[in-house]
């Protein structure tokens, strides 16, 4: 009984804080089971799924903000992701590649190693793109 109360308390607080964030998801259409749910075999009305989704939205939003995205913008970006995409991002955002050509700080031995690799054609870092 206490566990259920605690769970509801968490959900309620999350809901409040999400409202404060302004995170609105366009896909929550009361009543119908949408096609995404069918494909993922995931019931959004199920207690666990609902909490998971809220946590994922919250977590991804926080992560985006911590990576330098404006909070309002982060809300918009989160709203554009499907449930499945949100869950994936929550789990793996830090390990997923972020394409951007950022050259990590290369110094000393590492530089020499990379230069050699470049010369034998393993890498393509130093060519002008």
């Amino acid at each position: 009984m206490r566990k259920m109360f605690a769970k509801r308390f968490v959900v309620f607080n999350l809901a409040l804080s999400l409202c404060a964030l302004g995170v609105t998801h366009p896909q929550v259409h009361a009543g119908i089971i949408d096609t995404g749910m069918v494909l993922e075999q995931r019931d959004r009305e199920h207690q666990v799924a609902r909490i998971q989704s809220m946590l994922a939205e919250h977590a991804v939003h926080s992560r985006l903000v911590s990576l330098g995205v404006d909070p309002l913008l982060a809300s918009e970006r989160v709203a554009r992701l499907t449930d499945a995409e949100l869950l994936l991002l929550e789990e793996r955002m830090d390990e997923l590649p972020a394409g951007g050509d950022s050259l990590l700080a290369i110094i000393g031995v590492v530089f020499v190693v990379l230069l050699i690799l470049e010369l034998v054609g393993v890498t393509d870092i130093f060519k002008k793109i």
């Binding site: 119908i32 096609t35 970006r77 890498t123 393509d124 793109i129």
Partner: protein, 300 residues
Amino acid sequence: MQRIVPAQPRASVELRDTPFFPQDAYQCGPAALATVLSESGVGVTPAELVPGVYLPDRQGSLQLELIAASRRYERLPYVLPPTADALFAELEAGRPVLILQNLGIRLLPRWHYAVVVGYENLEGRFVLRSGTTKRRLQSAPQFMKTWGRSGFWAMVTLEPGVLPAVPDEAEYLRAAAGMEAAGETRAALAAYAAARSAWPDSLIALLGLGNTHYIDGDLETAEANYRAVLAADPLHAVALNNLAQVLADRGCYGEASATIEQALAAAGEDSAFASSLRETRATIEARLDDESRQVADCSP
């Protein structure tokens, strides 16, 4: 096991009219996405895409956000099967392909988005819009190696109703469902219609049409779609649930009640959607209560 060079000899191809957006620092994501979107008829610049896909502290863009951003422009983001053949098929269909490649090594990656616009078969080179180079030429082995490090990740942005060159039913339906979830109903309807023509037996495509019409506020067509699903599969619990919802919205509480009971019976206790079904029943019962037990029937 992916071949270093394409599986069969390929004719040369180059989509020379593909727009070119020289990228700013770290912004190959917006530049590459703007390229394929523009080619598919959307007037957009990299600068407009930056707020939606750029991560300042990672100095780059995530694949999932490129996918999500495409939907806003009514273009279906479709991830290709991870093969050179699929990439060539798109080029031959006249569509440039957005790819992710690692120009560094696994331990020190340099992730980069580029757009493949062609292939020169004599020289065995791919032609890419890449960074600040309008025609970057990359040898086939080098291209396949660097592209391979991303798992051969590639995507195209499809106009509504257009199927990819190598259509995979599951992937296409997922993409269509993504449009539906994003509220892009016009594009979703076209996508599901295309799915129906490609895979006529697909009940998911038919269900998707119904759901999208529902979201659009077109209850009549939604109902027709759900009934069509049930004509093929009378015990389709999801279609029964959604039909019950439509009937309730129309004020046909008697029928709605009967339909949701059918759904619950068809689904069984341990159905994946038990919670949604019970929620729908609760909604209908609440409305029945409101109407002071006036059981309205909507018999034709």
